[in-house]
Every structure is written in structure tokens, then in C-alpha cells.
């Protein structure tokens, strides 16, 4: 094979630069067909990737962040945005706002505290994934985003088919159009989770670790946000209790909320510990 196909060049970007040059040069020199070269390259890439997964870091990124925290954050963003959806939908249908029992000021404070917490958790989880699994981030990163996007992905087929449904099937187009606020909120949910997560992953891959002051500041911000989110989460519960005269208490207690919020904050603790041990190792060697 004298000329390297563009797709072989593209695929080989997964390899280290030196190895990429050596392998592509070997293909150029050899009598391999494009198909043989592709098989050889795929075999090498699979072997290299399999070797990376022998370490614990990619597994921690996959199982500890992408698979466990990703869905949790997605669920939290859905819970945060659901009152907004109900407000929009109720106003659309009946001309009045959905009664949550909370004042507008309280709703704004809840959205601000929990929305900020969600942004910071998403970014921190993304950074942890990028720094833990730099060379396997093409597996762990997309999984993290996928779990954050799944509400939007579930809505997408219905949204795409919406014009057809209105034209061909539905007798009540206004009912069909109720899908639109839901779709908009799903997009907003993706923005609250996925955009900071992408930024976090990119920073994590580029920088690998935070400095001790940066990690300390991040941890302090997260502690404050966990406290604020736990506290404001109780307002909705109190409103439900007032509204039902004490007979209906659907929400979880503050201890459970605190546990969940602390759990999704573990990447910040990891980054802080890592920064601390790096500083300690540097001072020992100095």
C-alpha cells in the first residue's frame, strides 16, 4: 500500500504520535491492501485500549462518575425544571400558573441554588472523567453525556414526528403542541448538565489536575452549594405539607437530600485529595 487512505490516517489519531508515524509508515512500505491495513490498525487500537483498562482510573471514571453520577444529575435537573414545565403548560392551557405553594421569590432562590449546584457538579464530574481517563475519555465522556441527555433523546422521536402527527393523525393540535414546552425544557436540561460537563471533560483532559488552591476553592463552593441545595429543597416539602394540612408529605427528608447531594460531590473530594498529595509529593522531592 503506497498511499495511506484518509480514513486510516483519521483512525490512527487514537494512537500516540510516534506510534502513529511508525505504523502508518510501515503500512506505506508494506504490500498490505487497505483492508489488511485497516484490520491491522484496528487490532492495534483494540490492544492498546484494552491495556488501558487494566488500570483502575478508567473504571472509576466509568462506574463512579459516568454511570452513577450522570443519571443522578440528569434526574436532579429534571426535578428542578419540572415546576417550570408545569407553570408553562398550565398557563398555556388555562391561563393561570401552576400552584406550587411557593412564592415567586422562593421559586427563584430554589432555581438559583440548585441550578448553580447542578452546573458545578456537572463540571466537576466532567473534569474528574477527563483527568482519570484521559486516554479512554472517548468511552467514558460520551457515556456521561448520554446519561445527561437521555430525557432529550426520549423526546426527540416524538418531536420529529410532531408535524406529521398534527397534519395526519391528531384531532387536537393544541394537545400535540404541549410537547413543545417539554422539548424546550429537555434542551435546557441538556444545557444545565451537558455544556458544563463538556467543559469539565476538556479541562480535565488538558490539565489533568487542579492546583491545591483551585481544588480547595472548588470544594468550598460545593460545600456551600450542597448546604444551600439541601436547605432550599426543604421549602417545596414544607409547601406541600402546608397545602395538604399535614396529610401529604411526598418529599424526602433533609438527611436523604444531603446524602444524595454529598454523594454527587465525591469527584470534588477526589480532586482535592489528588491536589494535596501532588503538592506533598513535590515538597518531599524538593
Amino acid at each position: 500500500m503506497n498511499r495511506i487512505c484518509w480514513w486510516l490516517e483519521t483512525l490512527s489519531r487514537v494512537l500516540d504520535p510516534d506510534e502513529r508515524a511508525a505504523v502508518l509508515g510501515d503500512f506505506a512500505e508494506s504490500g498490505d491492501t487497505a483492508r489488511q491495513a485497516l484490520r491491522g490498525l484496528l487490532g492495534l487500537i483494540l490492544r492498546r485500549q484494552a491495556a488501558l483498562w487494566k488500570d483502575w482510573q478508567p473504571w472509576l471514571a466509568l462506574l463512579g462518575v459516568a454511570v452513577v453520577i450522570g443519571p443522578r444529575l440528569s434526574h436532579m435537573s429534571g426535578a428542578l425544571l419540572f415546576p417550570i414545565y408545569m407553570d408553562v403548560r398550565t398557563y398555556w392551557q388555562h391561563g393561570v400558573l401552576y400552584g406550587t405553594g411557593l412564592s415567586t421569590r422562593e421559586e427563584a432562590v430554589i432555581f438559583l441554588c440548585q441550578g448553580l449546584a447542578l452546573l458545578v457538579w456537572s463540571w466537576t464530574g466532567g473534569f474528574a472523567i477527563g483527568s482519570l481517563s484521559r486516554r479512554t475519555v472517548w468511552v467514558t465522556g460520551p457515556l456521561y453525556f448520554l446519561f445527561g441527555l437521555y430525557p432529550l433523546l426520549l423526546t426527540l422521536p416524538s418531536l420529529i414526528l410532531l408535524p406529521l402527527r398534527i397534519l395526519l393523525v391528531s384531532t387536537d393540535y393544541q394537545k400535540e403542541l404541549l410537547l413543545l414546552p417539554w422539548a424546550l425544557l429537555a434542551i435546557l436540561q441538556a444545557a444545565l448538565f451537558v455544556l458544563p460537563a463538556i467543559s469539565g471533560v476538556r479541562q480535565g483532559v488538558r490539565r489533568l489536575a487542579l492546583t491545591l488552591p483551585q481544588a480547595g476553592s472548588l470544594a468550598a463552593v460545593i460545600v456551600a452549594l450542597v448546604a444551600a441545595a439541601t436547605w432550599t429543597g426543604g421549602w417545596q416539602r414544607a409547601a406541600m405539607v402546608r397545602w395538604s394540612g399535614g396529610t401529604w408529605d411526598p418529599s424526602v427528608g433533609w438527611q436523604n437530600r444531603l446524602f444524595v447531594f454529598a454523594f454527587v460531590s465525591w469527584p470534588a473530594a477526589y480532586l482535592l485529595a489528588r491536589a494535596f498529595f501532588r503538592r506533598h509529593a513535590k515538597s518531599v522531592h524538593a
Binding site: R3, D18, E19, V23, F27, A28, G43
Partner: protein, 109 residues
């Protein structure tokens, strides 16, 4: 002890001497064994042997034939020569008296 493919790779590298690099070693193994040599197996085995200290590798010069890309040069260390010698001795000892060894010697004589 070395594995079969590791031995083949070290032997090919020693035979090629200063011209030992990825593509040449691969071609040498294929011509000697009559079997295709996977580039994935070749490069991962090179890494493994280098970690064991049995050979050294470095990036050589680029050539026009390779589209301006560098070669990965290989040199077997003294430890690698010793490991290959031990493997050969073990195989030779294990093969004494077996039918394909006695047949080979009869054909040669």
C-alpha cells in the same frame, strides 16, 4: 521464559542487525514462518519486551518511501540475547529424541 512470538521477534531483530525496525521485522517473521504477522501483535510485543529490558527502541529517520514518516528502530540488548539463547536451548533439549527432530537430522545427514 520467552513466548514463541517474542522469540521470533528477537531472532528477526538480531538477524536484521542495524536494519531492524517495525516493517522489516514483520516481513522477516512472515517470510520465516510463512504466516501473516499482525502489526498489533508486533508493536505490543515490542513494548512488552522493551519493558522487560530485552530490547531497546527509538524513532529513526523518516524516509520518502514511508511517506516522510519515521521508523521505530529496534536493537536487542545483551539480556535479550541471553533470553533468546535460553529459549532456544530449552526447545532444543525438549525436542531431543522426538520424531520430527530425528527425522530432521536424518534428512540433513
Amino acid at each position: 521464559m520467552l513466548g514463541e512470538f517474542e522469540y521470533l521477534l528477537l531472532t528477526a531483530a538480531v538477524r536484521l542487525g542495524e536494519d531492524a525496525y517495525g516493517a522489516a521485522i514483520r516481513q522477516e517473521i512472515e517470510s520465516t514462518t510463512g504466516r501473516r504477522c499482525s502489526i498489533g501483535a508486533l508493536y505490543t510485543t515490542l513494548d512488552r519486551l522493551e519493558k522487560k529490558g530485552l530490547l531497546k527502541t527509538w524513532m529513526g529517520e523518516a524516509t520518502a518511501q514511508r511517506g516522510g514518516r519515521a521508523k521505530r528502530m529496534v536493537k536487542v540488548t545483551a539480556k535479550g540475547v541471553q533470553a533468546a539463547t535460553e529459549f532456544y536451548s530449552a526447545v532444543t533439549r525438549a525436542s531431543r529424541g522426538v520424531s520430527w527432530e530425528t527425522n530432521r537430522m536424518a534428512v540433513q545427514s
